[in-house]
Symmetry: C2
Subunit: 326 residues, 2 copies
């Protein structure tokens, strides 16, 4: 079994050795650019960790991990175009650097490159299952992104719909990464489903925590200005829960604060919204909901039919992801 | 063996029965919209025709044909965004009708749906090969589109590079559709390659003919205004050949006519460019080059180890495609 650092380093080496040197350069350079921006690159590691529960020849699984990372970065490239985002991880987004058309096309080729990477897996009989799992989460991530865009202009988003959206947009990729790793290593269908479930639930828990930290975290913790979601009028878990729990008066205040005609300074708006959220105990609600998903996920992990010690790394990573503020 | 009309009707029924009824509707409605715009839908038929050379259970191959058609329409959706095209087949393009963001995202999901369709093929052991063939032409189509965009702003496009570009942007899809059909039906690797080669060559021949007809065809034949490529300053086979063959004077005239600062009326520009092309015998050059690729393709088809009668339909379709003006 490898440590998280070792897996991270294994994948970083693989990524480095597999940069795209094809023609036309102008199509592939943006691919290498976005992949080099880094971040924690946790998603591919989920495939590796799941694989290692059943098979210690971890090198075999690197192409699957890579498919996950390339797919994830494809979504970043296209989402940044849709969101008109100029910066990512302190660098120019692909379309800001290379133009929108190249952003679209290099994104497209990345989706294909992800499938290509998956096809490098050395056991042909496993490939249909792997591609099947990949297809499903890939399609669901698109569905989640569409829901997210729809919610922006909708005034009737329910909490249930919101949790569905974050599950599709974020959590299914972690879940699918785990499931692919498990299936590739020969896990039973039942174990693969438990690992999927583990990933899905900690993914949703993570997103709820993300919503919480954006308003109630510290700048050091979050790495960006606190209150960004509020300034951007995002309907996060916090806001939707407040709209569910608030009285007529509090709801109206929130809705007024979220109206785009609002002329308050950003800090003032953040302060007023935060006050209402605190009044309604939304931080506790968020923690409780996060904990609900976290425990559901951990229970699924427990049920995976593998010696407890082997599952230690996955457990540790889940705790690291989700206990940042404790 | 089925006739072309029968295959067309089989696929049309399949397409109709497999419209996408998933949520969110706003993501899938554009998919059904573009797929319903029709056109001749020849590309999927190449998979069916190749399949039927070796296996008469044609229903099995419909999911492969569908993958080809969905992929092709994905490229149309994204290309129309890149080209800022408002109309296609007399109807609004997807992004004109539904917005650019939905165009990007529905296009993305179509690429995934194409893989999903491929995965429906009932013989799991063939799936790795099918996905492999699909990956290759899909990536190459993106490369061709990138080259096409690069050529727009480049003043040094060679004929060889142009033929490479049309081969990637157009011909590999026909070639790949044929190869997938053959492999799915259990053809030998050698036959599959011959069919690929047949498709590649008639694809390039078809594109050269397309360039020719855009300037020298009749409006009735082409279904659009003659000279569109010249008005849009497109560096087609005709222009690149003229730049290769022309004397200093003719070349300069052409380049001047193509300068965007040019203030001639469109009809006048078309007339002057056409005159130079005729002077240089470019129509004959185009026909000769088309014929070269056509014959190369037909030779590959001849070498396919299947009874001649069975290949009659593919031969007929190639002639229909390429002998429109004779």
């Amino acid at each position: 079994m490898h440590t998280l650092d070792e897996l991270q380093s294994l994948y970083a080496t693989y990524l480095n050795e597999n940069s795209y040197k094809k023609e036309p350069i102008s199509l592939y350079e943006p691919v290498n650019y976005i992949l080099s921006l880094g971040g924690k690159r946790l998603r591919p590691l989920f495939s590796l960790m799941a694989f290692e529960l059943y098979d210690n020849k971890i090198d075999k699984a690197l192409c699957i991990a890579h498919a996950v990372e390339v797919f994830h970065n494809f979504t970043l490239v296209h989402d940044d175009i849709m969101d008109q985002a100029e910066m990512r991880r302190g660098k120019l987004t692909v379309h800001s650097k290379y133009g929108v058309n190249t952003g679209i096309l290099s994104g497209d080729v990345m989706l294909i490159l992800a499938y290509e990477s998956l096809l490098r897996f050395k056991v042909p009989s496993s490939i249909p299952s792997l591609v099947h799992i990949f297809n499903q989460f890939a399609r669901e991530v698109c569905e989640g992104q569409e829901m997210d865009m729809l919610f922006e202009s909708s005034s009737e988003v329910t909490l249930a719909a919101y949790e569905k959206m974050i599950s599709l947009k974020t959590a299914v990729l972690i879940a699918g990464a785990l499931k692919m790793g498990a299936i590739a290593a020969g896990a039973t269908e039942s174990d693969a489903l438990k690992l999927y479930d583990f990933g899905l639930n900690i993914g949703v828990a993570f997103q709820i925590q993300d919503d919480y930290l954006d308003t109630f975290g510290s700048q050091a913790q979050v790495g960006k200005q606190i209150g960004g979601d509020i300034v951007q009028n995002k309907k996060t878990f916090l806001i939707l829960k407040a709209l569910e729990l608030g009285n007529q008066h509090q709801k109206q205040d929130l809705l007024n604060l979220f109206k785009t005609e609002n002329v308050l300074l950003p800090q003032e708006k953040v302060k007023k919204v935060t006050a209402i959220l605190t009044e309604l105990n939304i931080p506790d609600e968020a923690k409780r909901r996060k904990q609900y998903y976290f425990e559901k996920g951990m229970k699924s992990l427990e049920e995976v039919q593998v010696m407890t010690e082997k599952k230690e790394l996955l457990r540790k990573v889940a705790f690291q992801l989700l206990e940042r503020e404790n």
